[in-house]
Structures are given as structure tokens and as C-alpha cells.
């Protein structure tokens, strides 16, 4: 396989891992005002992701960094074209991160309220906007010959874009609810489980709508018909979707969470496979599209970076798995009694 193709799928993989990991952090933030009925439950919710969210967020930095290194032209056009949307995401992530750190540091209700709002909006905006942005990329952006974006932020808020936003929202809500049910017991646990069960049909509907509307709004299916083996991705995703509710009903919550991760990765790869070799298709003219071939770095840089990721990405996965394992188990009131807890 040529270097650009390897890098194209690595690019997709890093985004998929980011959504799989930080996705449940977003979900917790989204459920936060609704499931956290009192300060204790709120604290249990944020402490359920406390040791992990920071490392999860770095997958975004790496996805961005790798886009910069391997496909500089795609990086520069993607982030300048989607300027306002990306700025909103960045501000949201800043507020969310600071909120986790700051919330418990002053014992005043008004202080906590500020950070509670930050945690919710800091999770809502990225969830929706990443969905809107990626759906619009699948659909094609108004890029001219020079790669300049001929549109505005509001053009992104079209029907297909909004469907993408809703799909991401439900993916993360479900992922977060399942995570919370793993990490809690008692009343909060019951409510987390029943929330997951109630979100599932919405996730199913938004997935079906997205798959169907992709037929009408995008060219994603062309690659699938060219190589029908790729339909396995869709099949696997749908199977994971049904497996997730099956495992929830069976109270096998870790497997449900794993299935939910597969749904997210499968959904991202549905788009990534469909896009190839385009990274940012132009809807003005196909020849203006930014592709893995016309946007890539030199072979030397691609090779060096390949060595870097072959060494470091497995290492990152290994020590993050160690950290996940270290903090497995339910978050209890005892965990909250320690001085350092959020």
C-alpha cells in the first residue's frame, strides 16, 4: 500500500480513537445537569472520568497534529475554512477542562454553578459541532481552485449537517450513559442504565436517517459499491448497535460500552472509507478536492512520521490502558472524600 493511503487511514483511525475515548467524557458532560441531582451525584459523575479525560483529549491534538504533519494542505484548508466552528469547539474544550479542575476548589454554590454550565456547554458544543463539521466534509465543502472556502459558518447548518450533529450527540450520550452505569451503583446507576436504554432508540433512528440521507447527499457509497467488502464496516456497526442494547439488558455493561465504542469507530470509518481518497471534497468541482495525494507531505516526512507513530501510538495505548485499569471500579463516596478528588 502506498504511504498516502496508509496515512489516510491512520488519520481516520486517530479521529475514531478520539471520539471513542473523549466521546464518553462528552456524554457525561451532556448528562451532567440531568442525572446529577445533587452535588454528590454531580461529583460522582465528574470523578467517573476524572483521571482519564485529560489523556483522552490528547487524541484530538494528535489527530490535528498528524493532519498537519502528513497532510499540511488538508490541515490548513480544513481549519481555516471551518474557522468559526473550530474556534467554538476550542473555547468549549477550554471551559470544560478548566471546569473539571476548578469546580471543587471553592466551596460556594455560585462558583460551582459557573463551572456546571461550562461542563455542559463545553460538552454540547463539541459533540454537535464535530458531527456537523464531519457531515459537511462528507457532503463536500464549497472549496474553489485555490482551496479557499467560499461559504460561511451558517452554510454548515444544513439538513445533512444537522443530522450529523444529532448522530454524534446521541452516540456520545449513549456512550456516556453506559460509562456512567459502569462507574456507579445504587440509584444513580439505575438512572444511568435507564437513560442508556431510553437513548438507544434515538441513536438507532438517527443512525438510520444518517445512513439513508448519506445516499442522497453524499458520494460515500461509491467506494462501498466499488469494493463491497467495505460493507462489513456498516454491518459491524449495526451489529454493535444491537449488541450494545442486548448487553445492557443482560447487565453486561463493560461489553455494552465496548460495543458502543465499536459503533463510534464504525460510524467514523463509514465516512472515512466513503471519502477515500478525498479528505475535503469540493462541491464546486471534483478537481478542486483536497485528496490524500494532492495534500500529502513529502515521502521522507511521511516515512519518518510513520516510524514515530509505529513506536509511540502503541506505547500510548499501552499506558492509557494501564491507567484505565488502575482506575477501574465504581466511584464511591469514599473516593470523593480524598482531598484531591474533583
Amino acid at each position: 500500500m502506498e504511504l498516502q493511503t496508509i496515512w489516510f487511514f491512520l488519520w481516520g483511525l486517530l479521529w475514531a480513537i478520539f471520539f471513542m475515548t473523549d466521546g464518553f467524557d462528552f456524554g457525561i458532560g451532556l448528562l451532567y445537569p440531568f442525572l446529577g441531582k445533587n452535588d454528590l451525584e454531580k461529583r460522582i459523575m465528574i470523578n467517573s472520568i476524572g483521571p482519564l479525560w485529560n489523556g483522552n483529549e490528547v487524541w484530538l491534538i494528535t489527530a490535528g497534529g498528524v493532519t498537519f504533519a502528513a497532510f499540511p494542505r488538508a490541515y490548513s484548508i480544513m481549519f481555516s475554512s471551518l474557522y468559526s466552528g473550530l474556534m467554538l469547539i476550542l473555547f468549549a474544550l477550554i471551559l470544560r477542562g478548566v471546569a473539571f479542575e476548578f469546580r471543587g476548589k471553592v466551596d460556594k454554590k455560585s462558583w460551582r454553578n459557573i463551572w456546571d454550565i461550562s461542563i455542559f456547554t463545553g460538552s454540547l458544543l463539541p459533540a454537535l459541532l464535530f458531527g456537523i463539521v464531519f457531515a459537511n466534509i462528507f457532503k463536500g465543502l464549497p472549496l474553489d481552485r485555490a482551496g479557499v472556502f467560499q461559504g460561511s459558518f451558517f452554510d454548515l447548518l444544513n439538513l445533512y449537517g444537522i443530522l450529523g450533529g444529532l448522530l454524534f450527540l446521541f452516540l456520545f450520550l449513549f456512550h456516556g450513559a453506559v460509562w456512567l452505569s459502569i462507574k456507579t451503583d445504587g440509584d444513580l446507576h439505575e438512572r444511568a442504565v435507564s437513560t442508556a436504554v431510553r437513548i438507544w432508540p434515538l441513536l438507532l433512528i438517527s443512525s438510520v436517517l444518517f445512513l439513508v440521507s448519506s445516499w442522497f447527499y453524499t458520494k460515500l457509497y461509491d467506494n462501498f459499491f466499488a469494493k463491497p467488502a467495505f460493507f462489513l464496516d456498516i454491518l459491524l456497526t449495526v451489529m454493535a448497535l444491537f449488541a450494545s442494547i442486548f448487553f445492557i439488558k443482560r447487565k453486561n455493561l463493560f461489553r455494552a460500552w465496548f460495543s458502543s465504542s465499536i459503533i463510534i469507530a464504525g460510524s467514523v470509518f463509514f465516512g472515512i472509507i466513503g471519502l477515500y481518497p478525498d479528505m475535503l471534497p469540493s462541491n464546486i468541482s471534483a478537481e478542486f478536492s483536497i485528496t490524500a495525494h494532492n495534500a500529502s507531505s513529502s515521502p521522507l516526512t511521511l516515512k519518518i512520521m510513520l516510524i514515530v507513530v509505529i513506536i509511540f501510538i502503541p506505547a500510548v495505548i499501552a499506558y492509557q490502558a494501564w491507567a484505565y485499569n488502575l482506575f477501574k471500579g465504581k466511584v464511591t463516596e469514599k473516593d470523593l472524600s480524598y482531598d484531591e478528588a474533583y
Binding site: 490548513s76 507531505s297 501510538i313
Partner: protein, 433 residues
């Protein structure tokens, strides 16, 4: 307003705000690792309290450093897209290596350190802080290699309308990067040292937790003394290299207009850039500029007039930022030498303690001034000699950048206030022993 200026202001605001937190992270992580290691080895409770007290402040600072660092990586794409497309082959690779080799490790382990007190043995917990300190340092290495490439591009060829990598080891091992890294890291240790000394001085002045803060002060003092001296000596070497590869920067920071041998150093000047002269010059020391730039009092120093007007950096800002950096740097040496003689009778030296308390902001000012000199002195180039800053901006409407700039100022302003409040609140607390 002009989009180039707006984008520069936004980048300056975002970077300078981010860099309020980075130096303390770099230095305090090592000091905390030392304290925690002492605890793990001796089991003495005082070192555990020290770890926890300084650790709390460290975490607030670290959190702000992390979240403000995320925006920076994306701002190259959002606001400097032409630059990104031109240099991504080299610069992008360096940032991606930073993220995968260092940023991941520090971000994952910070959660382990915060929440791992009950899950890890004291030794393993201390080791985690050493790893955080190490990862932060490696992170700084790659970022500075990337910046050094903008200051002094090497190991590239211009091909396909962009700078492509031709020699990776030339990029990562170049002299500019080594010197700039050593200068930045040692300056960061001064920031941390004065921070620890200043807060310890506050408590010693109140005569509370004396043993605790005397120990803390001494750790800060050792760091401060070693690195104030080191930064100055190393800065001199760095200056010589800058003179060699960026002669226009040297001329600008000295408001040196006419090419001359045995060039004098002017202690203070007010430049008149339009008429290519200085309105006021005070205290010219013959030959000193030649000596500082080339270690030879008879060396020829090229004046600004010998650079084409459109390739000259602004003069006023580099001139003042250089003097601020060097002036404060000399003061740090003096203050830490005084501290060394007073180290065994700190409580009897309230005036010195007061000065040290009030000195907390000074290394911050010095280190920011140093970066202003490095970055403004590089203008009008974004990549020295090959790409101008004015050619590097994204094709955006000025209004978009104006709105985001205002948002940055508001959000960062509020975060700054909240962070500052929390750090002060925790720093003033009498530690639990």
C-alpha cells in the same frame, strides 16, 4: 483593521497567555518530584505536606497550561493556513512528534498523579511526577526545535512550492535549537524558583510553618542561583549565535543604524525608525556591542541601514524587551547570591523576604520579554529569510479574526482572573502538617 495585524495580535495573546503557565510547570514539576522522592525515601511527613501544598498550586497552573496549549496547535491552521501549507512538511511533523511522544504522556499521567495516591506506592507515585516532569521537558524540546526552525531554517529544500524536509537530523540537532532550548528551560527554572521562594517568603514573614517554608525556600534558592547564572552565561552564547544567523535582529535590539567596527552598546535609546536614527542615546560603551555580538571588541556590526527597509524588524519593541530581559536577569543573579548568604537566617531578614515576595512576577516579565524579542526581532519574516509573515495568513475576513480575538481576550481574561485567584488562595493557606 488589517488581517495580518489582527492575526498576529491573536497569536501573541494566545501564546503569551499560554506561556504564563508553561515555565512554572517545567520547573515546579521537578521540584515537586524532588520533594516527593524525599518523602518516598525517608517517609518524613513534612515532605509529603510539601508535595501536596506545592502540588495543589502546580495542578491549577498545569490545567491552565494544558487547555491554553490546545488552541495553539490549531491556530497554525485556522489563522496561518498559508504558512501551514508551506511548512507543514517540517513544522507540522515536529508538532505531531511533540503530541505523540510527550504531550500524551504528561496528560495521561497527570490524571494518574492526581487520583493515584491510594492506588500507587509512594515510590511509584513519585516516579509518576518524574515522568510528568520529563514529558513536559521533552514537549518543550520539540516545540523549541519547531520555533528554532522558524528562526533559522535548515535541513529543507524548496520544492513543489513549499519547504520540504531534506535532512531531519539537521533540523532537530541544529545549534540554534540547542541554545534556545537551554536558554528557555533555565529561564523557566528561574520563574519556578522565584515563585517558590516568593510564596515561602510570604509565610516566613508571617512566621508560620517555618521549617516547611525554609526547606521550600532553599530548594527554590538552589534552583534560582544555579539557573540565574547559567541563563546569563548561556544567553551570551545564544546572543553570539543570533548575531551570526540573524544580524538584523541584533541591529534592531540595539537600535544600531550604521555599520561600524568597535560598535558601542547604548544603554538606553529612543529610536526614530522613520528617519533611521535615535532621538536619544544614553550611555554608549565603546566596543561592547561588537564584543557581545561576536566576542571581539573590534568586530564589525552591521547596521540597520544596510538591510533593505522591507527586511528590517521593528526597533522599539526588541530594544526594550532585550533591556528588560537582561536587566531583570542580572537582578536575579544578585538576589539569589544575597539569598545564599542569608540562607541560614532567613527569618532575621524581613526586608529580603519582602523583596523576594514582590519579585514573583519579575521572572515572568523577563521570560515573556525574551520571547517577544525572539519573535518580534524575527519580523518581517515568519520563517527567517524564506517566508514573510504578511504572506502567511489565512484567507479569512478581518471581522472573523476580530471576533475571535475579542473572544480570546474575554475568555482568557476571565480564566486568568479565576486561575490567579485560586493560585493565590492556595498559596496563602497554611499547609497541613
Amino acid at each position: 483593521m488589517d488581517i495580518v495585524l489582527l492575526s498576529r495580535l491573536q497569536f501573541a495573546a494566545a501564546t503569551m497567555f499560554h506561556f504564563l503557565f508553561v515555565p512554572l510547570t517545567l520547573g515546579l514539576s521537578i521540584m515537586i518530584a524532588i520533594m516527593e522522592t524525599k518523602y518516598a525515601r525517608t517517609g518524613e511527613k513534612i515532605y509529603l505536606s510539601m508535595t501536596k501544598f506545592w502540588g495543589k498550586i502546580f495542578l491549577i497552573n498545569f490545567g491552565l497550561g494544558i487547555v491554553t496549549g490546545i488552541t495553539l496547535e490549531f491556530q497554525f491552521g485556522t489563522n496561518w493556513s498559508r504558512y501551514s501549507a508551506f511548512v507543514g512538511d517540517i513544522f507540522g511533523a515536529l508538532l505531531a512528534i511533540e503530541a505523540s511522544a510527550a504531550f500524551f504522556l504528561e496528560s495521561t499521567l497527570i490524571g494518574v498523579w492526581i487520583f493515584g495516591w491510594q492506588k500507587l506506592s509512594p515510590k511509584a507515585h513519585a516516579a509518576v511526577m518524574w515522568l510528568i516532569a520529563g514529558a513536559s521537558t521533552i514537549s518543550a524540546v520539540w516545540i523549541i526545535i519547531a520555533n528554532s526552525w522558524m528562526q533559522h531554517p535548515v535541513g529543507y529544500i524548496l520544492r513543489n512550492g513549499r519547504a520540504e524536509l531534506s535532512d531531519f537530523s539537521a533540523v532537530i540537532f541544529q545549534k540554534f535549537a540547542v541554545l534556545q532550548f537551554l536558554h528557555t528551560i533555565s529561564a523557566a527554572y528561574i520563574v519556578s524558583a522565584f515563585f517558590v521562594m516568593g510564596i515561602s517568603a510570604y509565610h516566613l514573614l508571617k512566621n508560620q510553618s517555618v521549617q516547611f517554608f525554609t526547606k521550600s525556600f532553599r530548594i527554590g534558592l538552589i534552583f534560582g542561583l544555579i539557573f540565574s547564572v547559567f541563563t546569563a552565561i548561556e544567553g551570551d552564547m545564544h546572543g553570539v549565535h543570533v548575531s551570526e544567523v540573524q544580524p538584523a535582529k541584533l541591529a534592531a535590539m540595539e537600535a544600531h543604524w550604521e555599520t561600524a567596527t568597535r560598535a558601542p552598546l547604548t544603554l538606553f535609546a529612543i529610536p526614530d525608525e522613520k528617519n533611521e536614527r535615535n532621538l536619544i542615546e544614553i550611555g554608549a560603551i565603546p566596543g561592547l556591542l561588537s564584543f557581545l555580538g561576536y566576542h571581539d571588541i573590534n568586530a564589525e556590526v552591521k547596521g540597520l541601514k544596510d538591510f533593505p527597509r522591507e527586511e528590517r524588524p521593528p526597533v522599539l519593541i526588541p530594544l526594550f524587551s532585550f533591556r528588560t530581559m537582561v536587566g531583570l536577569g542580572s537582578m536575579f543573579i544578585l538576589l539569589t547570591i544575597i539569598g545564599w548568604f542569608k540562607r541560614n537566617r532567613l527569618l532575621q531578614s524581613p526586608l529580603y523576604l519582602k523583596v523576594m515576595l514582590l519579585s514573583i512576577p519579575l521572572p515572568y516579565i523577563a521570560i515573556e520579554a525574551g520571547w517577544v524579542l525572539a519573535e518580534v526581532g524575527r519580523q518581517p519574516w515568519i520563517v527567517h529569510g524564506i517566508m514573510k509573515t504578511s504572506d502567511a495568513v489565512s484567507p479569512l475576513a478581518a471581522s472573523q479574526v476580530l471576533i475571535s480575538l475579542i473572544a480570546f481576550i474575554l475568555v482568557y481574561g476571565l480564566l486568568g482572573i479565576a486561575g490567579f485567584y485560586l493560585i493565590i488562595k492556595n498559596a496563602k493557606k497554611n499547609p497541613v502538617l
